[in-house]
């Protein structure tokens, strides 16, 4: 089963959970937070550069007609006084400007935009990607990662932080989604939103509440929004890294998670 791991806020335990799930399910983790990856293999086995097309503007050929400026949806080209300003970091490399430029003043060039890596950390297989240049080509890096290292039948896809389309776009292959969260004053609203998302996508959703100090009563909220409440992971003082070791009492929790994910298929 391919599991997508999401969280509305950062720092609630997506990385820790993805590692624990990887161990429990003998599945690799795909780190899709390519803007600032948290998971990166300690031992790199394969590494590859990701190339992406970006526009290059040749000032000497430009006659300042301004057609490209009007057409660019990304604000990568602007007319400033007597010159066209090419704002490289905003270019998505679509090439529309190249198509419409009557003077052929724009070309597309391949640039190194990111890197992808495969390796292991504490026996866990990790596939991760990283954006290298100041470009918006997150999607290119994620696509390349999945193309170069095709998803096996079991995998954990770790999305970037947020419950927006940008975070969801890397989870297309997911067969179930897990929301990781922590107790906070808007927990019920968060669960409601996650419920709407999973329903919209037609996927099963599971909620895990991490770092719980006092019991949270959200099981009925989860049920109301068609979600499975896996339960809570207690606050573990001084905890770092390996959740399975730090929380040996968690067996029943993990059994519940496993049964739900495997029983559903």
């Amino acid at each position: 089963m391919i599991i997508g791991l999401l969280s509305l806020r950062g720092g609630v335990g997506r990385s820790v959970l993805s590692r624990a799930l990887a161990q429990k399910f003998s599945a690799p983790v795909y780190e899709l937070e390519v803007g600032l990856p948290k998971l990166w293999p300690a031992e790199e086995k394969e590494k590859e550069v990701v190339w992406g097309r970006l526009s290059r503007f040749k000032r000497e050929k430009c006659d300042l007609c301004g057609d490209c400026v009007k057409q660019c949806q990304f604000g990568a080209l602007s007319l400033e006084g007597e010159t066209i300003k090419h704002r490289g970091p905003f270019c998505h490399g679509c090439g529309l400007c190249k198509e419409i430029c009557p003077k052929k003043a724009i070309e597309l060039k391949e640039y190194q935009v990111g890197e992808i890596v495969y390796g292991t950390t504490d026996g866990i297989e990790l596939f991760a990607g990283r954006l290298l240049r100041r470009t918006p080509l997150e999607g290119t890096v994620i696509k390349k990662l999945k193309e170069r290292f095709p998803l096996p039948s079991r995998a954990i896809l770790k999305a970037p932080c947020g419950l927006h389309g940008e975070a969801l776009s890397g989870l297309k292959e997911a067969e179930a989604l897990i929301l990781v969260t922590q107790p906070w004053d808007r927990l019920t609203e968060e669960i409601k939103l996650f419920g709407e998302l999973t329903q919209g996508l037609g996927l099963g959703g599971m909620v895990i509440v991490n770092q719980v100090r006092e019991e949270v009563s959200v099981a009925s909220w989860c049920t109301a929004y068609g979600l499975f409440y896996a339960g809570e992971i207690p606050y573990l003082p001084g905890f770092q890294g390996d959740l399975l070791k730090a929380w040996p009492e968690g067996e029943a929790f993990w059994d519940r998670v496993r049964q739900h994910l495997e029983g559903g298929k």
Binding site: G11, W40, L163
Partner: protein, 259 residues
């Protein structure tokens, strides 16, 4: 300092700092770049405006099925099978519209969010509410900044999402308060923020200190070698303690930023 952004690693207390600064300056304009949840209670909504993104729409009556659009889509957003356009992949560039020999594609505007202008006491507060699961966070942060700029100076609170969103969130800002914790990710983030906002004054707050000495030493060295100012350094503490500690940091910040 007209445009000020607060960015950083998660669990660093950046939103508590944002609130601490706002408490000291009841008229300072604020903007929040978290778009998923509804507007908090306590904010009085003045205006809501639809926010739209360009998306290609296909007229199947005219489409000859030549699949030129599918083959030339730079983002692989068009499915081979039925030329269905996946809106989670489409960037709305319009190349397919331009290339289509039959003019079967057109860019339409699809609403993905609501831009919200609110009031909190005397303060203007700019927010947005994204439709569940919709794309558009980079464009939205750009849009709320454009609105907040009219009421500048403003303070923008950013989530810990560091994809291309960050590019749109920091472009052209005058000052960035960057919250770092002793984690490996602090190094690439510091580098990326200096790169994305080259003209901005950068102030760093080190939070959760005293938890990883090796990283902390290296991080401080990196910060000073880049000539970046440290606004505050705080040990790992509870939310309540952090609120107290930010009183002082916020005052220092307001004096430095001349707000």
């Amino acid at each position: 300092m007209a445009e000020v952004a607060i960015a950083g690693l998660p669990q660093s207390g950046k939103t508590l700092f944002f609130r601490a600064v706002l408490e000291l300056r009841p008229t300072l304009t604020a903007a929040d770049a978290r778009f998923e949840l509804p507007v908090e209670e306590g904010l009085e909504i003045i205006k809501k405006e639809p926010f739209k993104l360009p998306v290609p729409v296909r007229n199947y009556l005219v489409c000859a099925g030549c699949a030129l659009c599918q083959k030339s889509c730079p983002f692989g957003a068009i499915y081979e099978e039925d030329l269905w356009i996946d809106l989670l992949e489409c960037e709305g560039c319009g190349l397919c519209v331009h290339l289509c020999p039959n003019k079967a594609l057109q860019l339409a505007n699809m609403q993905v969010a609501e831009l919200i202008e609110a009031r909190e006491g005397e303060r203007k507060f700019f927010k947005a509410q994204l439709f569940p699961g919709a794309r558009g966070t980079p464009q939205l942060v750009k849009a709320i900044r454009e609105q907040a700029r009219k009421e500048a100076p403003y303070l923008l609170d950013l989530p810990s999402y560091h994809g291309k969103f960050l590019l749109y969130a920091l472009d052209g800002t005058d000052l960035v308060v960057l919250f770092l914790t002793p984690e490996e990710q602090a190094f690439p983030l510091l580098k990326r923020v200096s790169y994305l906002a080259p003209r901005a004054r950068l102030l760093v707050v080190l939070s959760r200190m005293g938890t990883n000495q090796t990283v902390e030493e290296a991080l401080k060295k990196e910060i000073s070698s880049r000539g970046i100012e440290v606004l505050g350094e705080l040990p790992l503490m509870s939310e309540e303690e952090l609120k107290g500690a930010f009183q002082e940091t916020a005052q220092k910040f307001l004096a430095l930023a001349n707000l």
